[in-house]
Symmetry: C2
Subunit: 183 residues, 2 copies
DNA sequence: GTCTATACAATGATAGAC
DNA sequence: GTCTATCATTGTATAGAC
């Protein structure tokens, strides 16, 4: 049945897409999935938006805008104050836009659930426990997650630094992040 | 591996797929892209492999195996030694299998290059500089990358901890990781 | 055993009817 | 303005040539 044309369809699309992107990833969500959740046709989506990318862009616009605000704020600070402000501002930004960040990182859990990775999730959980020294404290777990997510990113980026130097820098920095007796 | 060493097509496929997956992501690489790089047909790929997932599985198998080795080694350690071993073992693992890790995280750079994120890359570079206190030291940059990659991961994982507690734990841990005067 | 040829359902996207 | 009809491309599957 052709459903009556409504003007609230745009918001419905954004809402459904936000949920689906976070749950199954951007590439893992088809226009038909979104259309099915909204209750309209695939082509109807493409009337309201210029494509799948446009839906993503509109969903992430507030997060990008907040990032721009932080960027401008940091630019006005001196070298000694900028680091503390950057740490707190970045943490705040990510926590405030958790849903959007989940969309950005959403394709990784998708990959990890493939048969090729049977057991990897469990090993990762044990690695997390090891990184905390098998502590059950939430703060220790948070630090371990920071290391777990940060080391691969640091290794992927080409940073004009030798492998040995990068390795020792990461080991030292990660050890400090995990140190419960630290500052 | 291959009993009839008449053709090295299998290895050529793995080599091309490894390069393409790292460059454009898993979902962003089509079988036709791989076939084109190898110089064979799409169907020829599917003779050698049971599908796109099977190519990925074989590419990542050595990394998964090394992870299993680390997992077993950590299981034999006591609580006080396990953390240091986990840190070093994890860093070593990720650095040794950089290419494979890049494949796993490969869909994120793909997303970041969309028009929706014009300027985000530059802001991220400035955020990195801020996290180092605008220092040019490679070790400081490595620590900043660790924080940049780790905070989102820590925020995405449900860890049964209040938002305020998680925030302060992350701010403290990230500050320690970035502290150049630390241990 | 290795591969070409062909067909298939589902995807993102477009043109044009109403 | 909204949606039907259609398109090229994707991953996958089968048949059969050498």
């Amino acid at each position: 049945m052709s459903r009556s044309a409504r003007s609230g369809t745009r918001e419905e699309i954004l809402d459904a897409a936000s949920w689906l992107f976070a749950a199954t990833g951007f590439k893992g969500t088809s226009l038909q999935d979104i259309a099915g959740a909204v209750g309209c046709s695939k082509a109807a989506l493409l009337y309201h938006f210029d494509g799948k990318d446009a839906i993503l862009a509109e969903l992430l616009a507030p997060a990008v805008e907040a990032f721009e605000t932080l960027d401008a704020r940091l630019a006005a600070l001196g070298d000694e104050a900028v680091r503390r402000a950057a740490v707190e501002g970045f943490v705040d930004l990510v926590m405030r836009f958790r849903r959007e960040v989940t969309v950005l990182y959403g394709d990784l859990p998708d990959l990890l659930q493939r048969p090729a990775f049977a057991g990897v999730q469990e090993m990762t959980d044990r690695l997390l426990a090891a990184l905390t020294g098998r502590s059950a404290e939430p703060a220790a777990r948070a630090a371990a997650l920071l290391v777990l997510g940060g080391v691969p990113v640091a290794c992927m980026e080409p940073c004009g630094i030798g492998d040995d130097e990068l390795r020792s820098a990461l080991v030292r920095s990660a050890a400090r992040a995990l140190d419960p007796t630290g500052a």
